[in-house]
């Protein structure tokens, strides 16, 4: 029962923080709520006794990635004029709220009291017996999930290259000039 209460508390905090991330008009405020979001997610992991993942979540996401976000926001330095484009209107919020409430009602009706599935081999006791969270995560990553784990590094490299290709501005200017010359 306690675990369920903890889950509900963190889950509703996550929902509220996520909403605030997209609804806030100031990008810095959005980033702060993102930190809160990621902290609550770490809390969820911890409540499921995945302490290692929880610690990594705080270190990597809340610590490193959001700091990068903040740097980018500060460098871009959005003025009040540009912020106007980011405002959301009342009807949009209404539609969003209605959709969420609708999903919750339908989901609640369908799924209340449903069995949530099976327990895998990696229970809390089994992990403790095997030598703790860190050891088990490492073992699973480098044995069973070795292939997707290594490919994820490829995915990150791809994302970096894609970001650089997108960020190169000169080519767009080239294209416009050419069009002007012919148009």
């Amino acid at each position: 029962m306690t675990q369920e209460l903890v889950f509900l508390a963190f889950a509703s905090l996550i929902a509220i923080c996520s909403m605030m991330v997209i609804l806030s008009r100031n990008a810095v405020v959005s980033a702060i709520f993102l930190v809160g979001d990621l902290f609550c997610l770490a809390g969820l992991y911890a409540s499921m006794e995945a302490h290692f993942v929880a610690a990594i979540q705080v270190l990597v996401y809340a610590g490193a990635i959001v700091v990068l976000f903040m740097f980018v926001i500060m460098l871009l330095n959005l003025g009040p004029d540009q912020r106007k484009h980011l405002e959301v209107s009342a009807p949009e919020i209404g539609v969003l709220g209605l959709t969420i409430v609708g999903f919750l009602v339908i989901g609640g009706l369908l799924l209340l009291g449903q069995p949530t599935g099976v327990t895998g081999p990696l229970t809390a006791e089994a992990i403790d017996n095997a030598g703790g969270n860190t050891y088990t995560v490492g073992m699973v990553l480098f044995t069973k999930y070795l292939w997707p784990f290594e490919l994820a590094s490829m995915l990150i490299l791809l994302a970096i290259i894609a970001a650089i290709v997108i960020a190169k501005k000169e080519h767009i200017k080239d294209g416009d000039k050419r069009r002007l010359a012919h148009g």
Partner: protein
Amino acid sequence: MNFNIPSLTAEFYLTTSPVLILCFGALVAMLAGVSRRLGGELVIYSVLLLSLVGALAAAVAASPGVETAYLSGSYLAGVLSRFGQVLILLVSLIVTLLFKATFLRDRFFRGEIASLFLMVITGMLITVASEDLVTLFVGLELSSIGLYALVGYLNPSRRSQEGAIKYFVLGSFAAALLLFGFALLYVSTGSLRLTEVSQAVPKLLGHNWVKLGVVFSLAGISFKLALAPFHLWAPDAYESAPTGLTALMATTVKAMVIILAARFFAGSLASVYEVWLPALMFVAAISMILGNIMALVQSSLKRMLAYSSIAHSGYMAIAICASSANSGSLPVAAVLYYLVGYTIVSLGAFSILMWLENKDNDNLLLDDISGLSKTHPWAAFGLAVCMFSFAGMPPTVGFIGKFFVFNSALINHLTGLVLIGVIGSSISLFYYLRVIVRMYMADPIQLPTQLAPKPSLLVAVVIGATVIANLALGTVLPEAAMKWMVETSKEVAAAPGSAEDSQSVSH
């Protein structure tokens, strides 16, 4: 607790070599692109060709005849995987060659773009050769994220960037749906492996979580296949992408997702078809109607082909629906046959468009090809054969493909879907034949810049090969090809053997 340490033998490296070669090629292309001396067009071109040909040779040679799973299902080597990998690699090789003959050559053969291109292909190879949900997701994302960047930024313009942003936003949403579906399947069945999921699922029939997982996965897969009502990204992305990439998106992405869907629905979830069959039937029917009707009113050829590809995805989804009943591997074989036919025809059509385009007109309208038979008779002939085949007229592969698909659906009593499919095909006749009428019966109009200024032997060979393959698969080869497809598709339902000669470590 025991952990099985996999022994990464030489055999493992050999079977995964297509993926490894492409990864290596992508790294080489990226590093060469940095250097001023090595980053030239010729070096990047040779790196691309070498890695694609090498991967193709490896995929043909290194695959075992019996389906074998490595690393607990993460990599699945076998006949179906080889089929998918060879198809994808062949198409990407042809697309690479074609880029050399277009005005985009100096943009495409750059280190970072070539590296993105190779990684996209890597992702596709991973996806067709896996039964592990995590690997499937990583592979799908590898191919999608690279494509988002390539669509908008290979030849940046406002139009292409708008298409890329739409593709990116809707694609991320679909990826989230797919991931949520996979996670729910994992929560309910306790396994990420499709074979184990398929064993666990029949016992969980009453569980709504499983149903929700299946439905979310269906939505994600339908999005990647551009099935209506998840198709909104397709016309914009297809129209705004450089035509070579449109060809890639229309053929290889479709091949990848169809093979994934066959493994997923016809293989693992066949026993719970009550859950997904109505949804998939609905999606297929809507796609066939909407795709064909929307294609009627398009004036851009690429946009018309995009809507027609939505309809063709619908036809392929019919065969996946038909695989729900206990009918052996016939429906999956039919969808593979249709897929090969569609790939050949699309490649032919898009390569002709790609050749006709130039710097000032990279989005041909229906008016632009008026009287093409007088100015470019062979291109007009090739395009006409492609249009006949898209429409499903005999003696082309399009007819035989539709015949096999509708046949497998009729055997499984999906008469309503077949009826909608036939009505859709007859609507499609109108807009496909309109292209032919424009090319052969209208007078050429004066364009500001001439289409296809210089002839290219390579383009002629590609177009000739697609026309010959098209007619051959439509007349003399169907029986032999279908036998081969049936052999290939047998693996979908069977559980793979394991190559785990691993040692156990207990702690």
